[in-house]
Symmetry: C2
Subunit: 193 residues, 2 copies
Amino acid sequence: MEQRIEPQSGSAFILKRGQRLKVIDPMGQQVSDMVLFNAHDIKEKISSGKTLDFEENLLITNGNYLWSNRSNKMMKIIQDTNGRNDFLLAPCSPETFKIMYNHNSYHPSCFENLIKNLSKYEIEADDIPTAFNIFMNVQFKDTGELTVKPPLSSAGDYVVFEALMDLVVGLTACSAEMSNGGSFKPIDYHIIN
Amino acid sequence: MEQRIEPQSGSAFILKRGQRLKVIDPMGQQVSDMVLFNAHDIKEKISSGKTLDFEENLLITNGNYLWSNRSNKMMKIIQDTNGRNDFLLAPCSPETFKIMYNHNSYHPSCFENLIKNLSKYEIEADDIPTAFNIFMNVQFKDTGELTVKPPLSSAGDYVVFEALMDLVVGLTACSAEMSNGGSFKPIDYHIIN
């Protein structure tokens, strides 16, 4: 059954080894930050550094694996109808809006939404790693310059992940204006047995 | 006084706020992996995701800051005579040599050398984040493809960092053939008050 993550919010759930997770952008141009933990030992978690190293590519998509800090495969990407994701940038946090966007009042963020939803698994703020940012469109130049552009995803684009171990998954509908083409939309997901 | 890190080994030490750390490649083409922790609370540590986000660049060099997972500045880069460093790839670990290089017997690694030296500060394997890889030359293509090339550093090249908080620093002379032009050399460092 399809679940909806409302705009600027998040979810956390168990995904068993062998189950598949389909993450859908129902309206287009909406990012979803995903973090992963070993369900039996939350000190093992998704690692950008290990994934970029083993996959030898900045752009992680169909056919690539998501690796843990302990060099184990956590997920395989089975389908990716959009093809552009980011694994460089940390989840947007209260400080992102203050430091990068000079926004001084309260602003929802992926970081807060991850903590709020993952707390039931005893995962705390300092445990949150760099997320795999589904549909996020971060462009890089030869000079290394990074620019956050609107996602290339259209309504209905999706990515399917297969779990290679029992996982705790944290998932958001991203809260940052810059990352989502200026408006906040929901994210849908579906666990397939 | 200059300290020497012997080939394929590591070191860990305290760097006080305001002190500077000079990391020198004495023979050329030698990488040094560096990790940072808040000396008063080791759950705060260097973050690739936060640094790439706030600095808006893949190539971190002179003038850039190294940020923590809590969005605080840990260090500023004051001088960089080489100019090429990496902040994408995880420290080489026993699994790196097994998975990427089909090397099945014991091989020294930055990961092991970091753990060994940081254990006196009660920092454990799972606490080690993606390191700032000084002098490491990781090339990226428009397609995202990553290639580890020999460092561009010549004998005597150095990077100077200023500590912006009291830090525990872990530092290595990297153990991976591919990252160091095929031979293992020492790394020198110097704490400047």
